[in-house]
Symmetry: C2
Subunit: 187 residues, 2 copies
Amino acid sequence: MKTGAPPRRPPIRHCRECGAPTAYRVPDDGDTRQRAICSACGTIHYENPLNVVGTLPVLGERVLLCQRNIEPRWGKWTLPAGFMELEETTAQGALRETDEEAGAQVTLGPLFSLLNVPSVGQVHLFYLATLHSDRFNPGHETIEARLFSEDEIPWEQIAFRTVRATLERYFADRRTGHFGVHCIDIV
Amino acid sequence: MKTGAPPRRPPIRHCRECGAPTAYRVPDDGDTRQRAICSACGTIHYENPLNVVGTLPVLGERVLLCQRNIEPRWGKWTLPAGFMELEETTAQGALRETDEEAGAQVTLGPLFSLLNVPSVGQVHLFYLATLHSDRFNPGHETIEARLFSEDEIPWEQIAFRTVRATLERYFADRRTGHFGVHCIDIV
């Protein structure tokens, strides 16, 4: 996952249009929430959740994890994932992050998990993916990319609760042979 | 759907932290995309897709549509939906919009569709929902909220392609008796 936006975002202090100071108040347009409103030009600044998109790459009995070379959670293990960008779909973003973080070539499968993390204003989406080989070429955000069988997963060293929940559902589904779409709230 | 953010967002001209002018360039941190970077304090401003969350409310054989009282697409029909807010989950946002736009009380069902609209930087998510009654109390964004059977749907007057695609999949699934999770790219 990229270092991009901080998990808890700082307030908007200045207007993106004209640079004047903003103040948080409820707009006069029927809105019910406080927004950062420009004191000079009146521009209303909306703040909304971000999507994090990634894959659960599988090769036979094993899944691919990446050891993080960035904060937060340096040294912990994660699935390849990062902030969705403009001009891409959730699936395209998931493939891009898999290439950037693991240097792994995959064939994308179906959506597997949608996890809400309202405490940090994020929605995480993971797709199943089939690895083309066990050769990886991780980018600068990853110390090591390697395959783990279920009994090798470093459960105590998983970087994010969304990754842990996704992995748990995957191994449970694999035992039943039926892979659903899992919607989970991390509260 | 709320009037919130414009479909194609204007560039970020000033820094949200200090108000100084920004310039678009690729940051020096390994990023590959142009970002609005502050000329004074160096703050990097990320721009990411927004989620629109809503429901497909059902009462027996009929579904609920709302006639829009706001631009864009004033007078066209839509499912209740709007921009996801901070501090809520996708499901909570879908319920909130159903209450705000239709004044409809529902029991939320499973996620039904996830639609990417990369041309406007949006992801739309619709949940199935069961209406408690045929009494609605629409808000100021809605001219009228009413129930339609399949052969009454005003297909030529549907406000958004994501709503049309969701309704089409719903009636198709209803014929088979099996409701899946539909991932669709609107390109």
